[in-house]
Structure formats: structure tokens, C-alpha cells
Symmetry: C2
DNA sequence: GCTCTAATTATGCAAGCGTATAAATACACG
DNA sequence: CGTGTATTTATACGCTTGCATAATTAGAGC
């Protein structure tokens, strides 16, 4: 046994399955944030997670599964962040809707990194049915939550809230939020702090014909 | 000269530079439409254009240049289609804005293929400054055109149209159009024919507090 | 009809990709 | 303190990719 090892093998720690999955997903998001979906290669992700590439396949059958998990994680994180804003700030439904919109149109949801992953995914939706399903679930879930908020806000303002109109309102308000979120993520630097959130609130107030600031301003 | 050629060389025709570029861009769009940006490889594009891969580099220094040209072509095409709708249908500014919105929220602009290319691009914007520039130009151009339409529509309805409010209105209306376009491209099948366009018109009327159907309905 | 050149094909290369698999090792358990 | 196993590393394979370059040829101009 006189031979000396020319290279030392990487030392490592065993981690819990959940921890590793989370780390790998976090590393994936870092890659996407910095170089887009194309930059999220198996090797680069492993490097970020301080792990060797083979381990990824131990936790995810294929790379697409990791990417899909990362997408779901981001969407879920955004959903949770928006819901948190609801919990912490409201009893009047109009305040709740107001807080929901402001949360979606401010940090940390309105962030270029989120957009990069979202866009990369959307680009695959058309070609990959599995991802299309993942997307539609997230979209409808978001819109349903929004529709419930709108219904309550309308009722609190003494307005009718029949399903047909409420649905249409939800579609329009969803578009306003999505569109402004997009603008902010893509070119946040050309807008003043809070400008997009204010614009969104004002537009939604106009569409629903109610005030979302019931304490300060009266109902329209 | 008894030797026979084992394989015959591909016959070809020389084409004008413009024609070839257009063909290559069209082939690129086909690839993106079918399999997403990732499916738009140099070899696949060449196959579609009935050309060998090397020729692409003769017209485009690098693949990214072709992709960028394809992006610009699509955005330009959509812009032209929307502008055509303006020319063919209007003298009252409110009708013009109405037509503009309807055009952007209907065929052929609201199309999954357009979205695929757009999304793939947006995903790269964050990482590639050149593409970021290409995008911002297109975005600001679109918004400027929209802002002009809005200003005229407001004035025609006897409403004030000072720059500050007009800008904010343009941001909001742009968000509505973008958001609904997105929804329609992603899940057009869950909406009735023309539903998104109607929803968009109604939302924009509410935001601007004017009617966009001056012949039938009066101003609000 | 010849010639010259620009357009096109054909071939190959080096790099990077995702994936497979065997060897090594940390660590829980007795 | 061993021992077994789940976790992790290491290595390599086959494929695809974008790009370079040499050979060919279509077609314009004289």
C-alpha cells in the first residue's frame, strides 16, 4: 500500500431528504435567476448546491422533474407570500383585496428572478402537456382566490355579486395584476416606488366601481 | 471516370438575401411553435427551411442573431396587425381604441405560438442585455402608441388628458391588454369567443371612465 | 458559352448536455 | 466497536449542440 492517492475524494455530509430537495431547488432557482432556464444545467445546479451531479438523479428521476419542482416551488412561494399579506392586514374585505393586490405588485413577488423562471416555464407549456397542467392548476387556483376576494369586497360595498359578473371581474382584475406584475418585473427601474401598486389599485377600483380604501375614502 | 458517386449532392437554388432570411426566420418560428425555444436548433431550422445547417451561419453570425431576428419579426408582425385594424376601422378616436384592443385580444395576435416565442425571449431578457434592449424598445413603442390612442379618446369624450394621468392610464390599459392576451394565449379554450376582448373593452372603459362604443352607447 | 464569384453543401470538431452505473463512505443501529 | 445500508461521489458513455472550414456549384455578367 505504498501508493498515495493522487486526488482526494470529496468529503460530504448526509442530509435529510427534504433538506436536499430544498437545497437542489434553491440552487436551481439561483441558476435560473442568473442565466435563465438555459443556464440551469445539471452540473451547474450541482455546483451551486455543493454536491456532485449524480446526486440530482438520486432525488429527481430526470432533470425535468427538478425543473418542474422548482417551478411549483416558486409559484407556491408567491402564493404563500400573497396569502400572508392577507392574514396580517385585514378584516374588511376591501382592505383584504387591497392588501392582496399590493403584495402581488411589490417586493418580493414582483421580482425579475421570479419572472425568469415563470417565463421559461410558460415557453414550455405549449410543447409539454405535463407542464401545461401544472400551470393551469396554478392559474385557476390564483383566479379562484381572487374571485372570492372580489365577491366579498363587492358585497361589503353593497354591490351585487352574481357569479357571472364576479367571474368576469376576476378575469379582468387578474389581467391587471398579471400585466402590471409583468411590467414591474421587466422594467421596474422605470417606475417609481409603489407606482405600479397604486396604478393597479386605482384600475381595480374603477373596474369594480368600489373603493378599496374604506377607512380613508368612502365608497364610490 | 468509371467511378460513380456513392451519394448525390443536394441540389439547390440561389435565393435573394431577403428571401432566405425570411425563410429562415419562418422556419425558426415553426420550430418554436412546435417544440418551444429549445426545439429551435440550428439543424432543425435548416431542415424546415430545406437548407443545410451551414447556410444559417452565412446569413446570421450566430444562432442568437437568428433567434433575435425571429423575435423582432413576431413582435413587428403583431404591431403591424394591430395597426392595420386601426387603419381599416375608424375616425372617432374611441372607435380606434376599441378596434386596437379588439385586434390585440383576438386572432391572429392572441395565439399560443406567439406566446411561446415571446415567453422564451422574456426568459432570456434577464440574462442577455442585447435581448433586454430589443424587448424594451418594443414595449415602449407599444405603450407610446397606446398612450396616443388613449389621449385622443379622452379628448374626444371631453375628458382632460394631461400627461401625468394619460401616462398612468396607458400603464394600466397596457397591463389589461397584456394580461388578457396572456390568459387567452395560455388557455383560450376556457373562454368563449370574444369574451376576453369584451372583458378588456369593459375594463378599459371603466378605467378611463369613457365609452368606447360612441355610436351605440353614449358617453358615461 | 466562359468565367468568376457569391451562395450553398458537406464534413468535422470540440464542448456541453443528460443520464447511467460502479465504487466509496457517512452514519444509524446493534 | 462492528456492520449494513442509504447516501454520495466518481467516471464514463452516447448524443446533440453550435460553430468552423473546405469543397462544390448555380447563376450573373461579359
Amino acid at each position: 500500500m505504498t501508493a498515495s492517492r493522487s486526488t482526494t475524494r470529496k468529503s460530504f455530509r448526509r442530509e435529510g431528504e427534504d433538506k436536499r430537495r430544498e437545497d437542489l431547488i434553491a440552487a436551481t432557482l439561483e441558476c435560473v435567476a442568473e442565466r435563465g432556464l438555459a443556464g440551469a444545467t445539471v452540473r451547474e445546479i450541482a455546483l451551486r448546491a455543493d454536491v456532485t451531479a449524480g446526486l440530482i438523479r438520486y432525488y429527481f428521476p430526470a432533470k425535468d422533474d427538478l425543473i418542474g419542482a422548482a417551478y411549483r416551488a416558486v409559484m407556491n412561494r408567491m402564493t404563500v407570500q400573497a396569502s400572508d399579506a392577507l392574514k396580517s392586514a385585514a378584516d374588511d374585505p376591501r382592505d383584504r383585496l387591497n392588501a392582496f393586490v399590493k403584495a402581488n405588485l411589490g417586493q418580493p413577488i414582483m421580482d425579475p428572478n421570479n419572472l425568469s423562471l415563470w417565463a421559461g416555464f410558460i415557453g414550455m407549456v405549449h410543447a409539454d402537456p405535463a407542464m401545461a397542467l401544472a400551470h393551469r392548476d396554478g392559474y385557476l387556483g390564483f383566479r379562484d382566490e381572487l374571485e372570492a376576494l372580489i365577491r366579498e369586497a363587492l358585497l361589503a360595498a353593497g354591490k351585487p355579486a352574481d357569479p357571472i359578473h364576479t367571474r368576469r371581474h376576476a378575469i379582468a382584475v387578474n389581467a391587471i395584476i398579471d400585466g402590471l406584475w409583468l411590467e414591474g418585473c421587466l422594467a421596474g427601474d422605470i417606475f417609481a416606488e409603489g407606482e405600479l401598486a397604486e396604478t393597479g389599485i386605482a384600475a381595480i377600483e374603477a373596474v369594480l366601481a368600489i373603493s378599496l380604501n374604506p377607512e380613508k375614502g368612502g365608497a364610490i
